[in-house]
């Protein structure tokens, strides 16, 4: 193991930390809207947001490639206006990870926001708190468990994404090769020792994430 061999680990951590931050803030807003508001086509939008859990990752990656690629509407806009290329860079990997993992955040976050007793929120409103203040000081602390669980799940999912990332970010060593893609590459090249090491690292990570989630949300042991 040398520095170059460990690059996929650094990249995976970087991508999944940034992706989790995005998933957290965007997902929290969406979870709150879906939990508290009623609007036209709400169930349809919910179904769209949950799609990444159900459709194959390669299909998801293909959608992103079509939209974000240099000939896609958003891809062309970003390139012409900001001079930013998303596909086949680590930014593409972040977007792939956000889209793939955000439902895993929204689902438990929404459920726990819905389960907060409306009377407690109303009490805060009665005391003259603004809607934002009600959310941050009443709803959020009471929905803490679901939100923490969602964050950890989204983080773990971001770390493990393969199909979507491969389609959007490709497999460029030292650039976009995340740990799951590096494992695929190592197996293809018959580099079994490297594959084994990376597999052990990611397995240990995944188990410890779920272990901490359980500890936070279920009980002492």
């Amino acid at each position: 193991m040398n520095h170059t061999d460990l690059f996929p680990l650094y990249l995976t951590l970087k991508v999944s930390i940034i992706a989790t931050l995005f998933s957290f803030f965007v997902g929290l807003l969406m979870a709150w809207i879906l939990a508290k508001k009623d609007f036209f086509l709400k169930n349809f939008i919910d179904a769209i947001v949950m799609q990444p859990l159900i459709i194959p990752p390669t299909v998801l990656g293909y959608y992103l490639l079509v939209v974000l690629g240099r000939n896609g509407p958003i891809g062309r806009f970003l390139e012409n206006v900001f001079g930013v290329t998303v596909v086949f860079t680590w930014k593409g990997a972040v977007i792939a990870a956000v889209v793939a993992s955000i439902p895993l955040f929204i689902k438990p976050a929404r459920a726990s926001i819905e389960s907060v007793d409306i009377n407690i929120e109303n009490a805060a409103r009665l005391l003259g708190k603004s809607e934002f203040k009600v959310f941050t000081s009443v709803t959020l602390p009471l929905a803490k468990r679901g939100i923490i669980a969602g964050t950890a799940m989204a983080f773990a999912r971001s770390m493990g994404d393969f199909g979507t990332t491969l389609m959007v970010a490709g497999n460029i060593p030292q650039k976009t090769q995340t740990i799951s893609i590096a494992i695929y590459d190592a197996v293809q090249a018959n580099n079994i020792p490297l594959a084994n090491t990376l597999v052990l690292i990611i397995t240990a990570f995944s188990i410890s994430v779920l272990f901490w989630v359980n500890k936070f949300t279920k009980g002492k042991y």
């Binding site: 650094y10 951590l13 970087k14 930390i17 940034i18 490639l65 690629g69 240099r70 000939n71 891809g75 290329t85 596909v87 086949f88 860079t89 490709g170 497999n171 460029i172 060593p173 030292q174 650039k175 197996v187 293809q188 090249a189 018959n190």
Partner: protein
Amino acid sequence: MLFETGKPDVETDLKTCFYIFYKDLSMLIITRITLTLLFLLFPLSAAFSEELLVGAASDLLFVFSEMGKTFESETGNRIIFTFGSTGMLAEQIRQGAPYDIFAAADDRYIMGLKNQNLLKNDSIRNYAGGRLVIAYNKNVKPVTTLRDLLVKDIKSIAIANPDHAPYGIAAKEFLIRAGLWDKIKSKLILGENVRQALQFIQTGNADAGIIALSIAKVPEVNYITISEELHPPINQTMAILKDTSKQKVAKEFIDFVCSKKGKAMLEEYGYKTK
């Protein structure tokens, strides 16, 4: 009782003490985490002068890895290869993949990209001719003739996917010309690229296969070379991408591949050079 003085409140003091301790500790941890994050977000910059990204056909895996090291030590530039099937790499380039050089195993893909105005036209170079072999795992009964591929012992035959991998196209064409395609079709296992086809044979998951000569020299595998006239020519061609900002270094690498030294290395791995 509440305002009693003179008697120190041990419990409160201890609490304060712990509070300060934990506050300091958490500050320390937060600083550490922030520093680690910063370190992760701003990747370490390498000491190389320029960094070249090369999308290369996977039959080049061994020879280019060696050439890359020589080129790095001679020029001080860094070179990063992405190996994959030529068709897949061409598709990535169409979608905007940031390679500086595309080393294809089949000139038809280079011409396709040229027609779409994605390559620097005067940089296109034919650098080698590829050869096919019949490879088989050392644990199966040796394959000495083409007919041996039909026997019952050979249960699976690996080739690269002929939809987008040039060595797969060549292998399919070879089998059609030999009149064996229909008989062998049900035994075929398709690798994503020729390197994966080799991996299937190396691990014994395929008994035999038709792959590139340049990657066949591995300990787990024996092979017999297929005569050149029996398969379509494999014209390995490379070019610089139009969008690259590293024209100069890219040209240096192509010149290096086509130099006497580069050609000698290619020949050593079984390629034909003009």
